[in-house]
Amino acid sequence: MGKEILKVEDLVVKLEDETIISNLSFELEKGQAVTILGPNGAGKTVLLKTLLGFFSYQGKIQWQKGVKVGYVPQRIPFVKNFPISVKEFFQLKTKDEKEIKEILKLVGFNENFSKRKLGEISSGQYQRILIAWALIGNPDVLLFDEPTTGIDISGEDTIYQLLERLKKEKNLTIILVTHDLSVVFKFSDYVICLNKCPICQGKPKEVITAESLSKLYGQEIKFYEHKH
């Protein structure tokens, strides 16, 4: 019996007649962490959004029955236009006060923090709040789109340590989009190198080689070499 929580076969995504992703197949088991690595514009964010059902596609995307998915988008602007407290932001998703309190504690915030204005917390705190928000309702899978810009990380937990801990404590399956090679090695059991079509996929130590990387980022690397 297959234990796959997600099965993707021959996935093709076209947006306004442009092919963004082609010929992607992979399987994901419960508790696994998958990273998706690739240059800008490679279709990583589109892949996550397609898995969430935002876009139409060809091929097969099959989630295990009853699977709940949480999502942390790549870029959410700060809420500057209107006042909303951290707690009220969570109340948009759940009415369960106890759950809000517990989730906040899980990502390292005390109860007082919930009264803060969402627009006035730091970007590192905001990132953690968004992860906590995605965890409301106890999802089995977390899709995390890493922000392109750096984030100031306060406290001793980095985002990845936090994700690592959550993965263990909640037995989460995680799909993570990243640019950071060290994250791929430290964090994931499986990596998909994506540049519109899959360049390589498998265990990071086996498939990430100088050769596959230059294929993945090929043109950029050549570009820099010409400069010298």
């Binding site: 236009n81 909303i84 407290s85 948009l92 928000w133």
Partner: protein
């Protein structure tokens, strides 16, 4: 005396629900639609005056038509919404000026409160209550949409549906508001209380409450000033809203 009472009651209800709606104008994109939309109501008001029908009805029909036109032009041309709205705004003013006599134009632009009858007041109260509950219902989802459309979509929220209900609420308020303050000033009923409330709130709950309260307060103040001075009530209501805004700036803790 009865006329005064009817005006006051109607103004309180419209003011309150307009203020509440104002607090829902959470993003720039959401705020930007009220002004042009209210101008779209003008040709409807004009035609209603000519055919001696209820001006709110005329306004509402044209608002509805206008929203559909905006959507249609957007689909066909890919021009930015602001451009399309500006086009419709100009043409609505042109049509209004074409048809109306000077006196009627004044009524269309700044409203006329002394005409509110018993039945109209009752309708205003009922529609206000309906719109209040409509806004209350769509508030959380629209808040999430304005924070992040990605998050909203992940929650399987139908963006189009909520944008439509939002436009519908605005249309209803504008249609009722034109009677009081006219097509040019109706945006003031929503924007001013919300701006004042924003100055004084730390969370959504106070923001909503204060915005509705300030809407009611400017309506009461405006109607009383109207009774005292006999200047048109519409501008007085908006000026009251502005006074509250000034006070909110003074009270704002930095």
């Amino acid at each position: 005396m009865l006329q005064f009472f009817l005006s006051l009651i109607s103004a309180i209800f419209i003011g309150g629900v307009a203020g509440y709606l104002g607090s829902l104008m959470l993003s720039k994109k959401m705020t930007i639609v009220i002004d042009p939309l209210s101008h779209l109501a003008l040709p409807g008001v004009a035609l209603a005056l000519i055919f001696q029908k209820d001006i709110s009805l005329g306004a509402f029909l044209f608002l509805f038509l206008g929203s559909i036109l905006i959507w249609f032009f957007e689909q066909k041309t890919k021009l930015p919404t602001e451009t399309i709205i500006a086009i419709l705004f100009t043409i609505s003013l042109a049509i209004t000026f074409l048809f109306l006599s000077e006196h009627e134009i004044e009524e269309a632009l700044v409203g006329n409160i002394s005409k509110i009858g018993k039945v109209e007041s009752l309708i205003i109260v009922l529609v206000s209550i309906f719109v209040f509950f409509l806004i209350k219902k769509i508030y959380p989802k629209l808040t999430l949409i304005s924070i992040s459309e990605d998050l909203a979509m992940a929650e399987k929220i139908d963006l189009k549906k909520y944008q439509f209900l939002y436009i519908l609420s605005i249309s209803a308020i504008v249609a009722m508001g034109v009677k009081f303050v006219g097509g040019l000033l109706v945006a003031g009923l929503t924007v001013l209380p919300a701006a004042s409330a924003r100055n004084l709130s730390k969370n959504l709950k106070t923001f909503k409450l204060l915005s509705s309260l300030f809407g009611i307060l400017s309506a009461i103040l405006g109607i009383f000033l109207f009774q005292l001075t006999n200047f048109p009530a519409g501008p007085l209501i908006v000026i009251s809203g502005f006074l509250i805004f000034l006070i909110s700036i003074i009270l704002k803790k930095t």
